[in-house]
């Protein structure tokens, strides 16, 4: 007997993995809410979310990182694509994108007096840079993956207290050769959104 219901899915699709969604949208108030309720409804927790304007005027890009099964996330993407003000939603696995996150670390200036911290660890080992030096604190910036920024955090902590730490959401670009401007121009010309074709 063949089984075909939604609960009968391939084992590989049942595994929870980290997925990255890249969503191009019209720049419209309230759209963030509209997108996030699609996750809420399925009780999916968003790992990170970044929203910003793109190189095309009036177009925003949402980059959403979420842990989910493939089966569930495909339905989420389909649902997002259905929103009127969404131009396109793309789903990526880790190996299909280039991505980075940025982290800022606020340290007490005092701990810089301890040995080779700046040269050996911050710069040579982690490729981080010093953004600002003030009398009582220093800001370090590192771009990379969550694992990398966390490693630097752990290492810095050995030297003393980290006053504050902040990490951004992921930004990602697909490995495909696609130009956003051309893609959007194509959307404007397609027949599928024209009345009385």
């Amino acid at each position: 007997m063949k089984k075909r219901g939604i609960y009968q899915i391939k084992d590989s699709d049942k595994k929870v993995k980290e997925y990255t969604l890249s969503v191009l949208t019209e720049d419209k108030a309230g759209l963030l809410n509209h997108i996030t309720i699609i996750f809420n409804r399925r009780k999916l927790n968003i790992n990170s979310l970044n929203v910003s304007t793109t190189e095309v005027k009036g177009v925003s890009r949402f980059t959403i990182v979420v842990s989910s099964t493939k089966e569930k996330i495909i339905k989420v993407v389909n649902h997002i694509n259905k929103l009127i003000d969404v131009l396109a939603a793309f789903l990526y696995e880790e190996d299909e994108i280039y991505y980075q996150e940025i982290a800022l670390y606020k340290l007490s200036t005092k701990i810089f007096l301890k040995g080779d911290l700046v040269e050996k660890i911050i710069i040579r080992k982690y490729g981080a840079k010093i953004l600002k030096i003030e009398e009582d604190h220093i800001i370090i910036q590192k771009t990379g993956t969550k694992v990398g920024t966390q490693k630097l955090y752990d290492e810095l902590k050995k030297f003393g207290e980290i006053l504050e730490f902040a990490r951004s959401g992921r930004v990602a670009l697909s490995k495909k050769k696609r130009k956003t401007v051309n893609f959007i121009k194509k959307l404007e010309k397609t027949k599928s959104n024209k009345l009385n074709i």
Partner: protein
């Protein structure tokens, strides 16, 4: 160019979209719009309902029978929140609506002003699109966009919230119909390869079955569907919302699918080797246990909404298209065929169902009134040609089983959301949408009390709907489940009802009550033939069960006849 007030621009925009009827209820934040409407009463008929929920269900009924976009007005705050149930209902049942709500002036947004509610936030998950207009400049463009979105693709409800200052301030009226939105693609382009793949499966299938959904009605594909079925010889089964797309006496029609559907189409789903689902979404009330659904079949899904494809049931060939267009393409290439033997298997099932259930329900020897008997008589008296509006519960399932629809767009019911209280207001909207057709609302004694105030609307505007209460003084469907699955523990389902006839008298609506079976025929005839609104209170058996039944979560093969 001369400037006009924003509120007048709203009314003129509606006229540009050929709106001739609005269902609504005024209040503080929408008063400028109502004031402008006062001058356009020759062009727009406004129906004042007695509750905003009544207004939106009426707009749904109007839209479902006419194919036009239903329009309703409500004020801010409670007016707007009272629309939500209807909006959610329209969303899940794909009904095109434009709801216009008033809102507090934009400088008061977010201040907890009197009658302020965040209706944009509240309605977001249940609308196809929504937008808040805070400046009169936006009115024309947004209203034209609203209508375009509501009616195109898979239709749905749109809510436009308009702040009071935008209604008051002046604007140049410059209306252009929306023709495209770059981020919205409601007209899928048919993939010829998929059509060929589908037709190959269709031509080779030995036991194919067509599942007819509301998409057929929404795309006016009834004729193309009949042609498809007659050419290929494939039997047709209907979902709840697909009912009336195919005449119940068509030789290839094999009945109604789902939890309380007919025996044949349910059990045969698991014998079929090909399912052709058209404009339907494999609701759990249709599929039962999806792991034991259509186990021997390949699946072809014709569906305009890409997010419905593979949502519940994995397809072998998915055609993302308007049902009508896809059927036109398929009709060009499918082979002439017949499946009479296969259809005869359904007729055998029909015989079994008739002997085990139908015969006992419509040919009752004792002096008791069963719901099925009443609906069967109405079906015969009206020759299956009336518009039937049902509420939610046992009477709804019985009506879907026993009313033999002969005309398209005749079955108006709350399917996906299952909204009790839907039928009475939806029926008055349906009558206004199709004034020449007879409209009969079939409602339980529970459901009618959820929107009973709309009897006043029916009375005030002399809307000639027939209201049939199948009254068992119980919330019958819940009681049935309590009997079957909860050990007869009738937890809060019995009701001491008011005297519905005195209530109808109070509203000035002609009425009658049937308690004895010998009076049934005469009273039903009078009810049907009366020229005007009429409420008939039929007291039916207190504890009836609707069968067949696929118990919740079980396979369609386990459909129970008793």
């Amino acid at each position: 160019m001369k400037k006009i007030q924003g509120s007048e621009a709203i009314i003129k925009s509606l006229i540009e979209e050929s709106v001739d009827t609005i269902f609504g209820y005024p209040g503080g934040a929408i008063m400028p719009i109502y004031d402008s409407l006062y001058s356009y009463q020759d062009k727009i008929n406004h129906i004042l309902t007695r509750h905003e929920q009544g207004a939106i269900h009426a707009a749904q009924g109007y839209s479902r029978v006419s194919g036009k976009v239903g329009v309703c007005f409500a004020t801010s705050g409670p007016g707007a929140t009272n629309l939500i149930t209807g909006i959610a209902d329209a969303q899940i049942d794909s009904t095109p609506l434009v709801c216009i709500t008033g809102q507090v002036p934009s400088q008061l947004l977010g201040t907890d002003a009197f009658q302020e509610s965040d209706i944009i936030g509240i309605s977001m998950p249940v609308t196809k699109w929504n937008y808040q207009i805070t400046s009169s400049d936006e009115i024309c463009q947004i209203i034209s966009k609203a209508f375009y979105i509501a009616r195109s693709g898979r239709p749905g409800p749109v809510l436009i919230d308009i702040t009071k200052n935008a209604q008051f301030s002046d604007v140049i009226f410059n209306y252009k119909k929306c023709e495209r939105i770059r981020s919205y693609h409601p007209y899928p382009i048919i993939n010829d390869k998929k059509i060929k793949e589908a037709s190959k499966l269709i031509n080779e299938a030995r036991k194919p079955l067509i599942l007819v959904g509301q998409g057929v009605l929404l795309s006016n594909a009834e004729n193309e569907l009949i042609k498809f079925s007659e050419t290929t010889g494939i039997p047709l089964a209907s979902t709840l919302l697909g009912l009336s797309a195919v005449s119940c006496d068509h030789k290839n029609y094999v009945g109604y699918l789902g939890m309380h559907g007919n025996y044949g189409p349910n059990v045969k789903t698991n014998e079929a080797d090909l399912i052709i689902a058209i404009g339907m979404r494999f609701d759990d009330r249709v599929t039962g246990d999806t792991t034991k659904y259509a186990v021997n079949a390949k699946i072809i899904h014709l569906e305009i909404d890409p997010s419905e494809i593979d949502k519940i049931i994995k397809t072998d060939v998915a055609i993302n298209a308007d049902a009508k267009e896809a059927l036109i393409e398929l009709n060009k290439i499918v082979n002439n065929n017949n499946h009479d033997e296969w259809i005869n298997e359904f007729r055998e099932c029909d015989k079994l169902e008739f002997d085990k259930i139908i015969n006992k329900e419509i040919n009752v020897v004792e002096d008791k009134i069963l719901m099925a008997d009443v609906i069967n008589r109405i079906s015969n008296l009206t020759k299956g040609k009336s518009i039937i509006v049902t509420d939610v519960g046992q009477h709804q399932m019985i009506t879907s089983r026993y009313y033999k629809f002969k005309k398209s767009n005749s079955n108006i019911t709350s399917g996906g959301l299952g909204t009790m209280g839907f039928a009475l207001p939806a029926s008055l909207g349906a009558k206004i949408g199709q004034p020449k057709r007879d409209v009969i609302a079939v409602i339980g004694d529970g459901g009618i009390q959820m929107t009973i105030q709309e009897l006043a609307t029916i009375s005030q505007y002399n809307i000639k709907v027939k209201i049939l209460i199948l009254n068992n003084n119980f919330l019958g469907m819940v009681r049935q489940w309590q009997e079957l699955f909860f050990d007869n523990r009738y937890s809060f389902t019995e009701m001491k009802n008011p005297n519905f006839n005195i209530i109808a008298d109070g509203y000035g609506i002609k009425n009658n009550k049937v308690e004895n079976k010998k009076d049934l025929d005469k009273c039903l005839k009078e009810f049907i033939n009366y020229d005007g609104s009429y409420l008939l209170n039929v007291v039916v058996e207190k504890e009836e069960n609707v069968f067949p039944m696929v118990p919740s979560g079980e396979s369609v093969s386990n459909i129970r006849l008793e």
